[in-house]
């Protein structure tokens, strides 16, 4: 089926399978920040925004995204670069595979909640799994990003 998607404010016409997951569509289009992990809605690697809310693109049928605004990390480049620096400055990247999904969640949290506490950060990022860092360094990096510290 042919659909028009709005990805990072650009309209794109594309032919998709009826049961295609948004993750597959986005990666086929070259949005490689969107990563494939568990494909069972557990790990958070494939997190993107739909109308500003985080969703798991591995479980979201592409046809449902028609008429909505999809945002990937590529569409938040400047802010993502700053958040990346905050994380790097705290040693929060090891293999780095989970980082893009975690960044999408952290940037959504900033928009959804003013001055979030550590508990708010942990609750909001519960759906982003990391098997390297133990989360403490990421928590420090995200705190820096939310405060707007210089890095």
């Amino acid at each position: 089926m042919e659909v028009t998607l709005t990805i990072n404010d650009k309209k794109i016409n594309i032919d998709i399978a009826q049961d295609e997951a948004l993750l597959t569509t986005l990666r086929n289009l070259g949005y490689y920040s969107v990563r494939c992990g568990c494909e069972t809605t557990n790990c958070g690697l494939c997190t993107v925004w739909l109308d500003g809310k985080t969703i798991l693109s591995c479980a979201y049928p592409t046809f449902r995204a028609v008429g909505h605004s999809i945002t990937t990390l590529e569409g938040l480049a400047d802010e993502a670069a700053y958040l990346g620096e905050c994380l790097a400055s705290e040693g929060a990247d090891q293999c780095g595979y989970c980082t893009t999904g975690m960044m999408m969640s952290a940037m959504a949290l900033k928009r959804e909640k003013e001055n979030p506490t550590d508990e708010d950060i942990k609750a909001f990022l519960k759906g982003n799994l990391c098997r390297c860092t133990g989360y403490e360094s990421q928590l420090r990096g995200i705190r820096k990003y939310l405060r707007g510290d210089e890095v």
Binding site: E39, T41, L50, T54, I55, L56, S105, G127
Partner: protein
């Protein structure tokens, strides 16, 4: 993965009902789609419900009506639900995986799925929720859980005023499915105890509820024993049937303590029954 040959998108409830009762009697209904995709089956057809305009939360008289396609996250963050029944709905929902998942999963999908591991079903039972179906109309959630006719869940209705209720889930690790989940309600009629994750869907522990309502000495311990005896438990990867049975007694003690110290009684230590 969710795989299907045809994805059908009815735009009216009439059309959707006609599809599920005539041409596509076995086609699954796609709500959030979070659970359906975990199976390996390729479906000849899947019926998507997004176009039916069932995404809303409204106050209607002395009730809240929650559209079946409302996301779990929208229910979790709805201002009025933060205090309704001591915040039992946000409590039940916030333990379900991550925010991204709850931005997709719907309240109707959780209820219509009748999942045994559901945190939300016992919570809604404790709130004495009703459901509204397209064809069968309104019925209690308790009745709906055993209702076996094919129908479309339109909305869930909850009274705005609630007595003391409590929800306790036992799980092996945070964000995992609970291996046992219970809810309790204490109103003018007495106590009602609902236990799920046995691993079957939540049901009322009738004898245990009566014992607690009668309120004799050692009523809490007796209610725990009664629930462990009257309910059916099975083993799976999360817990054995005997472990679930043993923990049911603990669950009921915790539920009773939580209900007794809820609302105006917060902070008070109740005399142990």
């Amino acid at each position: 993965m969710l795989t299907c040959v045809r994805m059908l998108q009815p735009t009216t409830l009439d059309e959707a009902y006609e599809l599920i009762t005539t041409r596509h009697k076995t086609a699954p209904l796609l709500a959030g789609g979070c659970w359906l995709r975990l199976g390996k089956r390729q479906w000849p057809a899947v019926i998507d419900l997004t176009e039916l305009e069932l995404e809303y939360i409204v106050k209607d008289g002395d009730e809240y009506a929650i559209g079946a396609m409302t996301t779990q996250r929208d229910v979790e963050t709805y201002e009025a639900f933060q205090h309704l029944g001591g915040g039992i709905l946000p409590q039940a929902l916030s333990s379900i995986l991550g925010v991204q998942f709850r931005n997709m999963a719907t309240i109707g999908g959780s209820v219509a799925g009748r999942f045994g591991f559901s945190d939300i079903i016992p919570a809604l039972l404790a709130l004495k929720a009703d459901v509204v179906l397209y064809k069968a109309g309104r019925m209690s959630l308790e009745d709906y859980l055993t209702y076996d006719k094919r129908d479309i869940l339109i909305e869930i209705r909850i009274k705005c005023e609630q007595p003391a209720v409590a929800l306790v889930a036992l799980r092996k690790s945070a964000s995992d499915f609970p291996y046992l989940v219970g809810a309790m309600r204490h109103d003018a009629v007495g106590y009602s105890i609902y236990i799920g994750g046995r691993p079957g869907v939540a049901v009322k522990a009738k004898r245990a509820s009566s014992i607690l309502t009668a309120g004799r000495e050692n009523a809490v311990a007796e209610a725990g024993e009664a629930a462990a005896a009257e309910l059916f438990f099975e083993s799976n990867s999360h817990a054995s049937s005997s472990y679930r049975q043993a923990m049911t007694k603990v669950l009921i003690e915790r539920l009773w303590y939580t209900v007794t110290t809820a609302g105006d009684n917060a902070g008070e230590v109740p005399a142990w029954k």
